[in-house]
C-alpha cells in the first residue's frame, strides 16, 4: 500500500483540470497543426496526472498501468501524426489547418 498521502488528491486533480483546459484552448485557438498536436500531448499528460493521482488515492496499481499504455499509444500517435503533417506539408506547402478545408488531395 502507498504511504499516507500528504498532498490531497484534489490538488492534483485541480492542476490536471487546469492543464487539460489549457490544452483544449491550444487546440481551439491555434491554427498551426504542430501546435495543435503539442496541445493534444498536453491534454494527454493532464489526464495521466489525474490517473496517477487516483491510483495512489485508491491504492490500485491499475491506474499507473493505464498511464503506461496511454504513453505508449501517444508515442504511436505522434509517429503517425507527424508523418501525416509531413505528408500534408509536401502536398499543400502549409500546415495551417485553416487552409486544409478540402476533403481531397
Amino acid at each position: 500500500m502507498p504511504q499516507a498521502p500528504t498532498i490531497p488528491v484534489e490538488y492534483f486533480v485541480l492542476l490536471s483540470a487546469i492543464l487539460f483546459i489549457m490544452g483544449v484552448m491550444g487546440v481551439l485557438l491555434r491554427r498551426n497543426a504542430i501546435m495543435i498536436f503539442m496541445s493534444i500531448e498536453l491534454m494527454l499528460n493532464a489526464a495521466n496526472l489525474a490517473l496517477v493521482a487516483f491510483a495512489r488515492q485508491w491504492g490500485q496499481i491499475g491506474g499507473q498501468l493505464i498511464v503506461f499504455f496511454v504513453i505508449t499509444v501517444a508515442a504511436a500517435e505522434v509517429a503517425v501524426g507527424l508523418a501525416l503533417i509531413v505528408a500534408i506539408f509536401r502536398t499543400k506547402r502549409t500546415i495551417d489547418i485553416d487552409e486544409l478545408h478540402a476533403m481531397e488531395g
Binding site: M25, I34, M35, V67, F68, F69, V86, G105
Partner: protein, 427 residues
C-alpha cells in the same frame, strides 16, 4: 504548510506557466521547449505520487523521444516561425475561449464539490493459509463453512494463500481422499464424517493469517500466526517467525549459529550462537522484530543447555516472510524426535508503483493490452514509413489514389449515360 506541499505548489506554478508560454509564444521551437519543461514537471508529480517508474518513462519517452520527434519535424518543415496570416475563421477564437473558460469553471466546481478526496478503496480482503505441522496425521482437505477451500495440505506442507471475504467461518479439516478417481470417497460434509479439527475463526479485513495445525495427534489445535506481508524497506532482508509445536516441551529459544565461530573455545564467543528469539512456550509465536539480512543461516533450537533440531541449510531470499516450526515426531520405537519444519516462504508485497510491481501486473493481468499495444506500435511504425514515402506523396498530388475508384465508377456510369469527361474534379 508542509515542505512537500510547498514544493508541490512551486512545481505546479512552473507547470502552468510553461503550458501558458507554450500556447502564447509565436516560435514553434520555443513552444516545444516549454512543453519539455511541462513534461518534466509532470514527471516530478509522478514522483510525489509514488510512481517512480512512470516518472522515468515520462522523462525518457515523452520529454525525450516524442519531443525530439517534434523538434525534428519542426526543423524539417521550417515551421519554427508561425506566421500570423489572416485566418478564415477568426470568429471561432472568442467562442472557443469562452467555452473552454466555462469548461474550466465546471471542472473546478466538480472537483471541489465532488469530494473526490473522500472516496477510498475498500480495505483488501483477508488472506488465509493453513500449515500442517501435526505429525502422524494424513493429508488434509480444508473446508470453510462446509465448502472446500484452499488446497489439500500434507504433513510439513502449506497451502498457498487464499483470499476470502471477511467474516466468521467454521474451519474444518477432513482427511483427503486417497482412493483412485474411479471410486471417489464419500463427501465428508454429506456423510457428517468426523473432522480432524473444527474451529470457529473470525477473519478481519486487511489481515494475512497463517493457521498452523499442531499439537498432540490426539488433541490437535490451531495457532493463528499473523503474517506480515507489507513491503520491506530493504530488498535484501526477510522476516522470520517461529512457532513452538512441541507439546510437553518447556520453552525453547531459536539460535543462529555463526559457523566460523562454532568451534571457538573463547567463552565470550558463546560458540558463535546468537539468540534470535527466546522463551517460546508451546503454541506460541515468536517474531523477529527487525528484518534479517538475506543469506544462509544455521538455525538451532535451544532448551536450557540442549540443542534441538538443527536446521543448517536455511537459505533465505530477500523480500520474503519465513516461518519455522519446531515439531516433535514420534518414531516407531516411541522415541520423541524434534524436527524443524520450514513453511513455504511467502514473497512480501512489492512497493507501490515500483518497476517490479508494474512489471508483475503488466505480465499477468494486463498481458493482453500489452500485446495489443506492441502491435499498435508496429502498425504505427509501418504507417509512418508509408505516409512519408516520396512516391505516395507524389501519387496523392497527382490524384492517382483518389481517382482510382472514382474512375471506375465514372466509367461504369458514363457508359450508360452521357460520355462526359470523368476528370471533372475541381479545386
Amino acid at each position: 504548510m508542509s515542505l512537500e506541499l510547498g514544493i508541490f505548489l512551486v512545481v505546479a506554478i512552473v507547470a502552468i506557466a510553461s503550458a501558458a508560454f507554450m500556447l502564447l509564444t509565436r516560435n514553434a521551437v520555443h513552444s516545444a521547449l516549454f512543453l519539455v519543461v511541462n513534461f518534466a514537471c509532470v514527471a516530478f508529480f509522478y514522483l510525489l505520487l509514488n510512481a517512480p517508474f512512470l516518472a522515468m518513462i515520462q522523462i525518457t519517452v515523452y520529454a525525450g523521444a516524442i519531443m525530439v520527434l517534434f523538434m525534428f519535424v519542426i526543423m524539417l518543415l521550417g515551421a519554427e516561425k508561425l506566421g500570423s496570416q489572416p485566418a478564415h475563421y477568426r470568429w471561432l477564437a472568442p467562442i472557443g475561449a469562452i467555452l473552454t473558460g466555462l469548461f474550466l469553471v465546471i471542472a473546478l466546481f466538480v472537483v471541489v464539490q465532488g469530494n473526490v478526496g473522500l472516496l477510498k478503496a475498500a480495505p483488501p480482503n483477508p488472506q488465509l493459509r493453513v500449515v500442517h505441522a501435526l505429525p502422524g496425521s494424513p493429508t488434509l482437505d480444508v473446508y470453510m463453512n462446509d465448502t472446500r477451500a484452499l488446497a489439500s495440505v500434507a504433513y510439513t506442507g502449506a497451502t498457498p494463500f487464499g483470499q476470502v471475504l471477511p467474516g466468521d467461518y467454521v474451519l474444518a479439516l477432513y482427511p483427503s481422499c486417497t482412493q483412485p478417481a474411479a471410486s471417489p470417497c464419500a463427501d465428508p460434509i454429506a456423510t457428517k464424517a468426523k473432522s480432524v479439527l473444527s474451529k470457529r475463526i473470525t477473519l478481519k479485513e486487511n489481515t494475512t493469517t497463517t493457521l498452523v495445525l499442531l499439537g498432540d495427534p490426539k488433541a490437535p489445535q490451531f495457532v493463528a500466526v499473523p503474517t506480515d506481508l507489507s513491503t520491506l524497506n530493504d530488498d535484501n532482508t526477510f522476516r522470520l517467525q517461529a512457532v513452538n509445536a512441541t507439546p510437553g516441551l518447556a520453552t525453547v529459544s531459536l539460535l543462529n549459529i555463526n559457523p566460523l565461530k562454532a568451534n571457538s573455545t573463547d567463552p565470550n564467543d558463546n560458540h558463535g550462537e546468537l539468540p534470535l528469539l527466546s522463551n517460546i512456550a508451546f503454541g506460541q509465536v515468536g517474531t523477529v522484530n527487525t528484518p534479517l539480512p538475506k543469506g544462509s543461516y544455521s538455525l538451532v533450537w535451544a532448551r536450557d543447555n540442549d540443542r534441538l533440531a538443527p536446521l543448517s541449510d536455511f537459505v533465505a531470499q530477500g523480500k520474503t516472510s519465513e516461518l519455522v516450526i519446531l515439531v516433535q515426531e514420534t518414531t516407531g520405537s516411541g522415541v520423541a524426535l524434534p524436527l524443524t519444519l520450514r513453511a513455504t516462504p511467502v514473497p512480501t508485497q512489492e512497493a507501490f508503483g515500483s518497476p517490479q510491481a508494474i512489471g508483475q501486473s503488466l505480465l499477468s493481468t494486463y498481458l493482453l493490452p500489452f500485446e495489443l499495444v506492441s502491435l499498435l506500435l508496429l502498425a504505427a511504425m509501418v504507417g509512418a514509413i508509408i505516409l512519408t514515402r516520396e512516391d505516395v506523396v507524389r501519387r496523392v498530388r497527382r490524384r492517382e489514389i483518389v481517382t482510382e475508384g472514382a474512375l471506375r465508377i465514372n466509367r461504369a456510369t458514363s457508359a450508360a449515360t452521357t460520355p462526359a469527361n470523368p476528370e471533372t474534379s475541381g479545386d
